[in-house]
């Protein structure tokens, strides 16, 4: 059941509106850079605008009935200002260029921040609010754009599910200067953004590591083995393991204390396996694997990922973490 159908079950008018909206949005071309022109800026009076019109009508009737020429002056001055404010409101958006910076991937359930650069070729523009089209009005991110300059607005939203998604439709609006009219534009960025599965929290401990068998880095003498290298100091390292000479150099350059790495012997590899997740649903498995990926990367071990149809060989570091999370985000049964 689509959201439109869900709404339609309750209210036919809302259903029609939602359907119209879907149809309307589909017509809009997707682009990461949108220049606002006469063609894509819409404007309508706000509730306050209608109230203003009513006030003007009352003022006009009073002026007519009491034959107040100054009353006419007041009424028409306000009417003129209202008409000008309509053009100013529209002009605040018209000519503006919106550009979406590349979106960093995030986890489901955690906020994703869209950086939107607004460029004004001409005059200063005030009071522009940006939000997701579907978000409530109160979540507007307000921004002023200096004349001939740029400003960056940050709009965040929380994706619910993993996967590669289109960036949601955005809208920019303004009521400047008098709030009698609301001009807005609807913008469908072309960019897509990656959402990793929500890491399970708290997650059960990852499966235990096991030494690499038969690999080139196999340990020779156990605990008393030769020093193979250095690694960052970890809490609990014995004093004698600290490589003091190296540490002194490292500390000078602002790095951390280093310890001798005797763990070659303990060089571990970790298999994050679909099958090891226990009897839970596929999405929950992906969540658990995501949590384990984070743990494994933090622990500094090499880790590999095994999903039905996916097999990533064990490796360490940031790149591996990204590869694994991407695989988890995009996995399909």
């Amino acid at each position: 059941m689509t959201p439109a159908q869900a709404v339609g079950a309750l209210n036919p008018a809302a259903f029609a509106r939602a359907r119209f909206r879907v149809w309307w949005q589909k017509r809009l071309p997707r682009s990461d850079t949108q220049t606002l022109t006469q063609g894509n800026v819409y404007i309508l009076p706000t509730q306050a605008g209608w109230m203003f019109a009513l006030t003007l009508l009352v003022l006009l009737l009073a002026s007519i009935n009491y034959q107040l020429n100054l009353g006419y002056v007041l009424t028409f001055l306000l009417a003129g200002s209202g008409v000008v404010s309509m053009h100013v409101t529209h002009g605040t958006l018209r000519g503006l260029t919106l550009h979406l910076r590349p979106v960093a991937p995030g986890f489901a359930g955690e906020p994703v921040v869209l950086d939107i650069v607004l460029t004004s070729p001409g005059t200063s523009r005030f009071g522009i609010g940006l939000r997701l089209l579907d978000a409530p009005g109160a979540t507007l991110a307000w921004i002023d754009v200096p004349g001939g300059g740029q400003a960056t607005a940050h709009v965040s939203f929380v994706p619910a599910v993993r996967g590669l998604h289109d960036v949601p439709t955005l809208s920019a609006e303004t009521r400047f200067p008098l709030g009698l009219f609301r001009a807005w534009t609807v913008w469908r960025p072309a960019a897509r953004h990656l959402v990793y599965p929500r890491p399970e929290s708290p997650a059960p401990a990852p499966p235990s590591t096991r030494p690499i068998v038969g690999g080139p880095t196999r340990s020779r003498h156990g605990e008393s083995g030769e020093v193979e290298g250095v690694r960052a100091y970890r809490r609990g390292d014995p004093m004698k393991l600290v490589a003091w000479k190296k540490a002194a150099q490292a500390l000078e350059t602002g790095a951390e204390l280093v310890s001798r790495d005797t763990s070659v012997s303990a060089r571990q590899e970790l298999w994050l396996d679909w099958a090891a997740c226990g009897p839970v649903s596929p999405e929950e498995r992906l969540s658990r694997l995501a949590a384990w990926t984070l743990v494994a990367e933090r622990a500094g071990t090499d880790f590999g990922l095994r999903l039905p149809g996916v097999d990533l060989a064990p490796e360490g570091g940031e790149a591996q973490r990204r590869r694994c999370l991407e695989a988890l985000a995009l996995w399909r049964a």
């Binding site: 022109t37 006469q38 063609g39 509730q47 306050a48 109230m51 203003f52 006030t55 009352v58 003022l59 009737l61 009073a62 002026s63 007519i64 009935n65 009491y66 034959q67 107040l68 020429n69 100054l70 009353g71 006419y72 002056v73 007041l74 028409f76 001055l77 306000l78 009417a79 003129g80 200002s81 209202g82 008409v83 000008v84 404010s85 100013v88 005030f126 009071g127 609010g129 307000w142 921004i143 002023d144 009521r175 400047f176 200067p177 008098l178 709030g179």
Partner: protein
Amino acid sequence: MSALLQRRFPPHWPGWQRLPREARDTLFLLAVIAWTVIPHTPHLPGWTIGLTALVLAWRGLLAVESGSLPSKWVLLAVLTIALGLTYWSYGSLLGKEPGVTLSVVLMGLKTLELRARRDAFVVFFLGFFIILTHFLYSQSLAVAVAMLISIWGLLTALVLAHMPVGQPSLRQASGLAARTALLGAPVMALLFALFPRIGPLWGVPQDGVSTTGLSNSLRMGSITEVARDESVAMRVRFERTRPAQSEMYFRGPVLTRFDGLEWRPLGLPFAPAGVPERLPALTPIGEPIRYEATFEPLRVASVPMLEATSEIEPVEGFRFSRREDLQWLGERPIFERIRIKAEAYPRFLLGTSRRSGEIQESLELPPGFNPRILAWARALHAEPANRGLDATSFSGLVLRHIRDGGYDYTLSPGEYGRNAIDEFWLDRKTGFCEHFASAYVVVMRAAGFPARVVTGYQGSDSEPVDGFFIVRQSSAHAWAEYWQTGKGWIRADPTGAVSPDRIGSSIRLSAEPGLVAGAIAAMSPELVASLRSAWEAANNRWNQWVLNYTRGQQLDALKNLGFASPNWEDLALLLIGTLSTLALSGAAWAWLDRHRVDPWVRQLERLKRALRSLGIAAAPHEAPRTLAARVRERLGEQGEPLAAALDALEKQRYGRAAATRPDAALTRRFAADSRRLRGLLAR
């Protein structure tokens, strides 16, 4: 309220610049509201102003201290009290005065409830409404300027409310507001000039009736108030000759019926619409004086025209007719400024043709009132020397008695009782024009001569301003007429008998000047006089051009535009036409703007078309440099001019000293070269 008392006092003031944004905006709005309400001080009961000041001060304190707003119940309680006080002050909650009072109070209370954007809008719209209510009391230049500042302030506050980012300065916001209003001014001027002026939509707004000016009745004491009112009643401009001040009688209601306390006119106060009244026998003598009079809103149907005005030029939207008693009446009370052009004959005979009953009623005296003056008059008439005198001679006798009988002219005669005329004539002998006029008429009637009271204005300021003589409310006057068989109604001004100064020079009792004004006047009377006349001139222009812009002026303007016989439909059509033209040109501009192509792109497109006609491929995305290379490659020496032009274009557009606009000469040369080349290649 205890929380209020526990607060530090005075509150800590961080300085205007360091005030948090919200507090600053609120204080600014409060200041604007105070400025808007203050001019109402003279019209509203003291408690309204006091309560509003208190509420605004409280709100200001809350803003500075970032305190929380009072609960709904507190507001409701204050509102209830205000409603009670309003009812107590006026005995009603409806009508102009209670309405203004309540909107001022509501405006104040609403500031204590500024939570959402909608609340702010309510304050703004109430503010605009309160500005309008000022014009019910005065439309003077000073009020207009003060209210213009109010509008500016309110618009600034509105703009501030829609600049949610950072801390925009007041100067910036007020600049934006002023720009919006100034750009809107042409729309205002257009609407003001062309919006058809129509009459009141429902009933006559009785609320607007002022306590000064002419009225259709005269009661002892009512003219005292007028005599102290320095405001302008009308402005008169004479075309060539002008009458002497002492001959400037502007004739208002003629009062014949007397019930012992009050004088009233005969018959209908209006000329019935559509019934052409039989013309009275006005016999003009000599040459007429042509003049133009601009009347402030009269609020009665009677129009005080110069005696004796025989004809007036029609005024669009009004119908005036002349009654038999030479009084000019509109078909309804006149609530706007009107300008009338007319002809008057300073010398005339009136009323030799008799209207049945009029003379009879001019003799009636109510029984049971003023017995002593009746006896006095009959005794005078019965004296052997006076027996057989005609009306004119007897009138001369009475006027002589007034001159020699120890009567005094004063503007503060004090209170008179039930038999006011007895008291005045025989005991106290002090009064002003209306006392003299009514006593005179009673004496004449008692002696058997028909007589009546005429009210209106007499005299004007002695020096014209901008060519206009100003007649003030203080020039309101009452005089008398008696019937002389064979001649008709003849004017007699008993006030002139006792106080000749009153006639012709328009004595005014002005209020004591303030300290500063007094000091300036003592040092330099000329300066005061010239300042005053400059102010009067500015005011006069204001009245003539802004306030007097009524239907007549609108239609005159249409005539100047070439309409033969304009009416209000023409006005409406012209207005709609102009607005549609403006809207359409706006739409056309928008269309052009939408289809506007960058001139550089257009130029390059033309060059590419020329290249394609030579058989050289030119893709839309290719730069001039690429094209130049291709031209050299394909055409060699022959194509050099084209390639050079393309290189030049590349420099013009992207080079260090890039041009702002494309070079049209280059385009033309390029087109010519390519045509020549095409000819060569075809050969």
